[in-house]
């Protein structure tokens, strides 16, 4: 053994203790608590009438600010329990659009949807009293999911790049920052310029641009998608929809 068992026991066993009115200690401790709790109020609160004060960043059920949402479905992709689905809704201001619907019964309140949302539309609300009479009541459609946002509810987990650390920098980048964004890479040979990625991009960051060559058969200019990394929110919808899978995410390292 590292050090042989030198006598390490730091207390005398009961038989070695000299006899004393040990009950007096326990009684004194409890009596002090009795006096303290009758003079001041006890430590417990009467739950339905008094509520615990929760910090701003408290993670109850997820909430949404419908105006900010761009339906990029990044939250759908990241949710570990797959509780979020994009659901078509009809609203006066936004017209017919798809917005996330959260099945709060399955949600484990991990806060990933709010952490990943590029426009801070998905937020974390302090609401945790979610008792309902039926499971369908817990299927929060986008309107029911709405919650007025306060600064603490938006979740942002700042990061730094490994290369920057080696370079000795220490200041971190926030969520939408260009430096830490994964950009889309195009494999030009496989691309058949079907412009599906241009249609699915929620932020319109994909433009089909001529590349100068002419298509021999139809002698029209060949167009390949060009990605505007400023607008791109790296939601990977184009990567999924591409029939020839010639798009892939290049990680910023």
């Amino acid at each position: 053994m590292a050090e042989d068992a030198k006598n390490k026991s730091t207390y005398q066993s009961r038989s070695e203790l000299k006899p004393r009115a040990w009950i007096a200690d326990g009684l004194r401790v409890t009596f002090k608590t009795l006096v303290r709790t009758t003079v001041h109020r006890p430590n417990t609160i009467q739950y339905p009438f008094e509520k615990l004060v929760k910090p701003d960043c408290y993670r109850g059920r997820p909430g949404i600010v419908l105006e900010k949402c761009i339906a990029c479905s990044k939250c759908v992709r990241i949710c570990p329990n797959r509780c979020i689905e994009m659901v078509p809704i009809e609203s006066a201001t936004l017209g017919k659009v798809k917005r996330p619907q959260v099945n709060v019964a399955r949600c484990m309140m991990c806060g990933y949807c709010a952490e990943v949302c590029p426009t801070n539309a998905m937020i974390v609300t302090p609401e945790f009293e979610l008792a309902a009479y039926s499971r369908s009541e817990l299927m929060f459609d986008p309107f029911k999911l709405q919650f007025e946002s306060k600064p603490g509810y938006e979740v942002c987990s700042p990061m730094i790049l490994p290369s920057e650390i080696k370079a000795g920098k220490t200041e971190m980048h926030n969520k939408g920052d260009m430096a830490i964004k994964d950009t889309v890479a195009l494999d030009a040979k496989k691309c058949i310029s079907c412009s599906r990625c241009e249609k699915t991009c929620p932020v319109g960051a994909v433009k089909m641009t001529e590349t100068g060559e002419i298509n021999p058969k139809t002698n029209k200019p060949i167009k390949k998608p060009a990605f505007d990394n400023e607008k791109c929110v790296s939601c990977e919808q184009c990567v999924d929809v591409c029939p020839k899978s010639c798009l892939s995410m290049k990680e910023a390292m």
Binding site: L27, F31, T33
Partner: protein, 370 residues
């Protein structure tokens, strides 16, 4: 007709005789006089023997109600103080949480009575009545004030403790008849503990009898009023009585029979609604009787400065002793069955004997012999 308030029983006797006399007058008024066929019933009603019987019935009724009220009041006291000892709020319904127990009592009444499958039905019910009878009977003997008692028997203490020590049989019956492994173990442990702790309890009572020379509560209190409350000379005896009393009423340091950790609820596990309610109330009642006995034997019962009536003093002292029981419950940890019995025979019994010796010595030298 003046009611004399000399004693509860006399008071009730005069009430019942007045009542039955009025009934007789009404019967006479509606024409049942000497010639009528119903006349013997009217005579029977006004007959002193029947009045005596009705008075006893009324006393028993009053004591039943008083017992249940004391039980509930002590449950409230325990829950409130235990809460404050543990840094939380105790009961919270009604003024100071006092009506929480009535609410619980009504809730217990509404529950369904479930008897376990192939349990011994008759013994299962009888066990509840056995425990209750044993506990309530003693309340009849314990007087509250100089003349506020149901029955004033010269050997009141002897009869009381004899009845009090019938409880172990009720526990075993309850444990056995519920047809459940845990309740059987709980019942046997409970019985062993109660029987074990009877011995030091009785020895201490003997030392009190030696000092006061009587077995009647009133004379005991009168002696203490004359000389000195027995708490001071027989301090060791008071301590032993308190510890044995805590064990008798199965409270925390000695509450292994219904230890939640291993035996769920011990012998009370299989009792349903009202059965469990009464058994729990009987538990607190036994604790109350121990406190009442303690205050009579050692704290001089209802003697106290006269700005309060005697019975209030009696109740206050009983509540004080019960406060100490709650206090011990808050600070202590449950000890195992064999340690509990070993503590009783090795520690408590010698203390009781020493106390007896002290009582005899004081009696011979200080008080001047028999």
């Amino acid at each position: 007709m003046m009611f004399d308030y000399s004693g509860l029983y006399q008071f009730l006797y005069s009430v019942s005789s007045w009542l039955l006399w009025e009934v007789g007058r009404i019967l006479g008024f509606i024409g049942i006089d000497s010639g009528n066929i119903l006349y013997p019933i009217r005579q029977f009603l006004v007959d002193p023997q029947f009045v005596y019987f009705v008075a006893l019935l009324l006393t028993a009724l009053i004591y039943l109600v008083a017992a249940l009220l004391f039980g509930i009041q002590f449950i409230w006291m325990e829950r409130k103080f235990l809460g404050r000892f543990m840094d939380r709020r105790g009961t919270s319904v009604g003024f100071l949480g006092f009506f929480q127990n009535f609410a619980d009592a009504f809730k217990v009444l509404l529950k369904a009575v479930i008897t376990p499958k192939d349990a011994d039905k008759r013994v299962y019910q009888f066990a509840i009545f056995a425990i209750l009878a044993v506990s309530f009977m003693l309340l009849g003997l314990v007087p509250w004030d100089i003349n506020w008692y149901a029955v004033n028997v010269p050997l009141a203490l002897l009869l009381g403790l004899a009845v009090f020590s019938l409880a172990p049989f009720a526990l075993i019956l309850a444990g056995w008849s519920s047809n459940n492994k845990y309740t059987l173990i709980g019942g046997i442990r409970g019985a062993a503990q109660l029987i074990a702790y009877e011995v030091p309890l009785l020895l201490v009572v003997v030392s009190v009898i030696v000092m006061t020379g009587t077995l009647n509560f009133n004379e005991m209190v009168a002696w203490q009023q004359g000389n000195i409350i027995l708490f001071i000379p027989l301090f060791i005896g008071a301590l032993t009585f308190f510890i044995a009393g805590v064990a008798e009423s199965e409270r925390v340091p000695f509450d292994l029979p219904e230890a939640e950790a291993e035996l769920v609820e011990g012998w009370q596990t299989e009792y349903g609604s009202l059965g469990w309610g009464l058994v729990m109330c009987a538990d607190y009642l036994r604790a109350f009787i121990i406190c009442a006995l303690f205050s009579i034997l050692f704290l001089g019962g209802w003697t106290g400065p006269t700005f309060l009536p005697g019975s209030v003093w009696m109740l206050a002292k009983a509540a004080l002793v019960f406060f100490f029981m709650i206090w011990v419950r808050a600070a202590m940890v449950r000890i195992r069955t064999d340690q509990l019995l070993k503590f009783c025979w090795n520690r408590l019994l010698p203390l009781a004997v020493i106390n007896l010796a002290v009582a005899v010595l004081i009696k011979i030298y200080a008080v001047g012999g028999w």
